[in-house]
């Protein structure tokens, strides 16, 4: 699951010794791994094929004797190609010369339109605009109420002349909303529409009628980041049925790789403009192609991880822990720190998610998997049975202390031993990672980003501009913390990854690919172990 493209490719390039160019077989093997990685990320099969063709061309030129090894070079190429598709046309929201600006939201059922309407409303209001939300989803039970509540929370007015639940004409509501906005001097109108399926010709026509009634400045297609191979069909149906100007990717706070972003950007050629990443009204951001590229490749959305870490971790506490780990200042990194780090990790979400966001996680995934989230309560009991001295310096825990602790925590000495050993392992691991081997932070050690700047040679490898919203990140960071660490590349070509990646069942995969199965099924057959786990 967490095999990253690096892991896969290093497997392919294991036996390159003595060659100066990649052979045709090397390139084919490379293409296959990229193909699987992209399919696993839900990128559309057709798009994958096109993409691979482009990458193959560039891969022919890969020089084995360069500073970057072939894995690094290929990953770099793939990443660049992804970013260029995802960010090809990125742009800002347009406003009408003569207000009101009209933004129409369209998408499948459950894609997140109503929530987005509230987020957009708040966002625009904060920019000094005066937005009006329009309840033109008269289909889904109580969608109108939902919009009213959302508008209320955002402090934005809602135009809802019809009760909904099947009553009222959405085209009429949309039309009159514009007149209402003009007379009441709202300068942006956000039209929430009912969810509809691409194959529903009647409802698609209704969407087109709403469009014609309001003459939107922007039509935004809202799509769930979890969508699979159907993304392209659906996007095309909406592009043909109503047309859209930009895409909003929703539910990015989950752990879907979000390959649909690539498919839609490639096939429809419309920019992805916003990312919606939570249920709160503020969980909304501009779209960052470079973050998305890393995410699709399973190389971790490190910047998002860091932002989340900042939200969850007590900044001061983790800075202290980082200091201890790195320099031994303020005391040794002890069991109390270990516990609070683990608890913080737990607050951040299941480890699987965090794992998925760490570049090169494959190399350490076994260690991390060994931390059972539900163990944490037991660990807490053990640690709390220790004296402060033992917690800050576990080395003093001799046999008799351990048996006392075990008794106090109602457990066995073996459990205490296991915890202490795990602590020392983790400490070692975290220290080496904080030292920069992974080019960024890690969940057990979020403070690592405040580690001393990495060597210049490494930072130089970041080709594309620093992404993200520095203002936002800065505001979370303590004043004295150097923020340069946050700009760590989501992939780091200079780092050496290389473990993991089991071989997939190549023959079966090849045989099946000749049959052009739906990608979902190809994936399934590709799994080595077809039986239940």
């Amino acid at each position: 699951m967490f095999d990253t493209l690096q892991d896969r490719l290093s497997e392919v390039f294991k036996n390159l010794r003595g060659k100066s160019r990649l052979s045709e077989a090397d390139i084919d093997a490379t293409a296959r791994e990229i193909r699987l990685a992209l399919l696993e990320a839900d990128v559309n099969l057709g798009v994958v094929k096109e993409f691979i063709a482009a990458v193959k061309q560039r891969a022919v030129g890969v020089d084995i004797h360069q500073a970057l090894n072939p894995t690094q070079q290929i990953v770099k190429i793939v990443n660049e190609e992804l970013i260029s598709i995802l960010g090809g046309e990125s742009r800002q929201l347009r406003f009408a010369k003569r207000p009101p600006t009209v933004i129409m939201l369209a998408g499948l059922q459950g894609s997140g339109k109503t929530t987005l309407a509230g987020k957009l409303g708040l966002w625009l209001k904060e920019q000094g605009r005066s937005p009006l939300l329009v309840a033109a989803d008269l289909q889904r039970p109580n969608a109108v109420n939902q919009l009213q509540v959302v508008g209320n929370r955002a402090g934005v007015h809602v135009f809802a002349p019809e009760p909904g639940n099947g009553v009222g004409d959405p085209v009429q509501v949309a039309r009159t909303s514009i007149l209402h906005a003009m007379s009441k001097l709202y300068d942006v109108v956000i039209v929430d529409t009912a969810g509809r399926l691409g194959v529903d010709a009647e409802l698609m026509q209704q969407a087109a009628d709403i469009r014609d009634a309001v003459n939107p400045t922007e039509i935004l297609f809202v799509v769930d980041a979890m969508i699979g191979q159907d993304a392209v069909n659906t996007a095309r149906a909406f592009a043909d049925g109503v047309g859209f100007d930009g895409v909003v990717l929703s539910k990015l706070d989950g752990d879907a790789r979000g390959g649909a972003a690539l498919s839609i950007a490639r096939v429809i050629g419309k920019p992805i403009m916003f990312a919606s990443n939570g249920e709160g009204l503020k969980d909304f951001d501009a779209f960052h192609p470079d973050r998305m590229a890393s995410r699709i490749l399973g190389m971790g959305d490190l910047l998002t991880l860091i932002e989340q870490a900042e939200k969850t971790f007590d900044a001061e506490e983790s800075a202290k822990a980082a200091q201890k780990l790195m320099t031994g200042k303020g005391g040794e990194f002890g069991l109390d720190d270990f516990l609070s780090q683990m608890q913080a990790v737990r607050r951040m979400g299941p480890l699987s998610k965090i794992l998925g966001m760490i570049p090169g996680a494959a190399a350490i995934k076994d260690q991390i998997n060994a931390i059972d989230e539900r163990d944490i309560d037991r660990l807490e009991a053990i640690i709390h049975s220790m004296t402060p001295g033992e917690r800050s310096n576990p080395k003093i825990l001799d046999g008799s202390r351990r048996s006392r602790v075990a008794k106090g925590a109602g457990t066995t000495v073996a459990e205490v031993n296991a915890l202490v050993n795990r602590f020392f392992d983790a400490k070692k691991m975290m220290q080496s990672m904080a030292g920069g081997a992974f080019g960024g932070g890690m969940p057990g050690m979020p403070g690592a980003r405040r580690a001393p700047a990495r060597p210049a040679a490494k930072s130089r490898t970041r080709g594309k501009g620093v992404s993200g919203n520095p203002a936002k990140r800065n505001s979370h960071a303590p004043a004295d913390a150097p923020v340069d660490g946050t700009a760590a590349p989501a992939w780091d070509p200079a780092a050496s990854f290389g473990l993991g990646a089991g071989q997939s069942d190549a023959d079966l995969q090849k045989a099946l690919s000749d049959y052009q199965l739906p990608a979902d099924l190809q994936k399934m057959f590709n799994q080595k172990n077809l039986g239940p786990r």
């Binding site: 499948l108 706070d253 879907a256 699987s352 739906p518």
Partner: protein, 238 residues
């Protein structure tokens, strides 16, 4: 696309897929409690169709002559309880609800308690959509189930998966199965162009059958899952 498959290979493939999807699975809904109402807990990520499924499922049960109570344990999303209640009144069953933002477990508890008191056959409990990555919300879900079980066993935990969902569907299912032991899958929105192929993997890995499919937004758009028809749709020209 698939028409490029030679007919014979296609048949082999179809048979193999049908076997994978396992027509022999017990896909019946467990809604009989033992002296207490059967309790069905409906879970899933945001927007998959949980509330709608409950509305439609209530309709099916009512049509079978069962008495039903709905529990609006989605106290989080704006107007979610209203939405469930609208469904309840459409199909003529009462809805137990609590204050918005209130404790979902206590609403679920109340619903089951009320179901027991009024001697209904089945209590259907709606829950807020939650991404499986949010530990706090998953813990909350576990608690909802545990609290219900102080009153009556949960006879069925249905995970609603949207047919458009890609590979992430498997991850979702793993985590939900881990937290609340799902006993069945509802594949929603199969009336669109998406085919929901991911449930094949989900079913195999977790050994939890797909029990129902959603085919639209109307009250009667919920039908039993059928392995062969599903496979035919998967292999059909898109």
């Amino acid at each position: 696309m698939v028409s490029t498959i030679p007919e014979k290979a296609r048949r082999v493939l179809r048979d193999e897929l049908v076997r994978l999807v396992n027509p022999g699975f017990d896909r019946s809904l467990k809604v009989d409690g033992d002296g207490v109402p059967g309790v069905v807990l409906v879970v899933g990520v945001n927007g998959t169709g949980k509330t709608t499924t409950i509305g439609k499922l209530a309709r099916v049960l009512v049509a079978e002559g069962k008495t039903v109570v709905l529990g609006a344990a989605d106290t989080f999303r704006a107007a979610a309880a209203d939405q469930l209640q609208t469904w309840g009144s459409r199909v003529g069953v009462p809805t137990v609800r609590g204050p918005e933002g209130g404790d979902p477990a206590s609403v679920a508890f109340d619903a089951v308690q009320q179901g027991i008191a009024s001697g209904v056959d089945v209590v259907l409990v709606d829950t807020a959509g939650r991404l499986h990555t949010k530990t706090g919300l998953m813990d909350e879900l576990g608690k909802i189930k545990r609290v219900i079980e102080k009153k009556a066993p949960v006879t069925e935990v249905l995970l609603v998966i949207d047919a458009t969902t890609g590979q992430n569907g498997l991850t979702q299912a793993r985590v939900f199965a881990d937290v609340v032991d799902i006993t069945g899958i509802v594949l929603s929105k199969l009336d669109g162009s998406a085919k929901g192929g991911i449930v094949v993997q989900v079913q195999r890995e977790l050994q939890v059958p797909v029990k129902l499919i959603g085919l639209g937004e109307g009250v009667d758009d919920l039908v039993p899952f059928e392995a062969e028809a599903f496979v035919d749709a998967l292999l059909a020209e898109s």
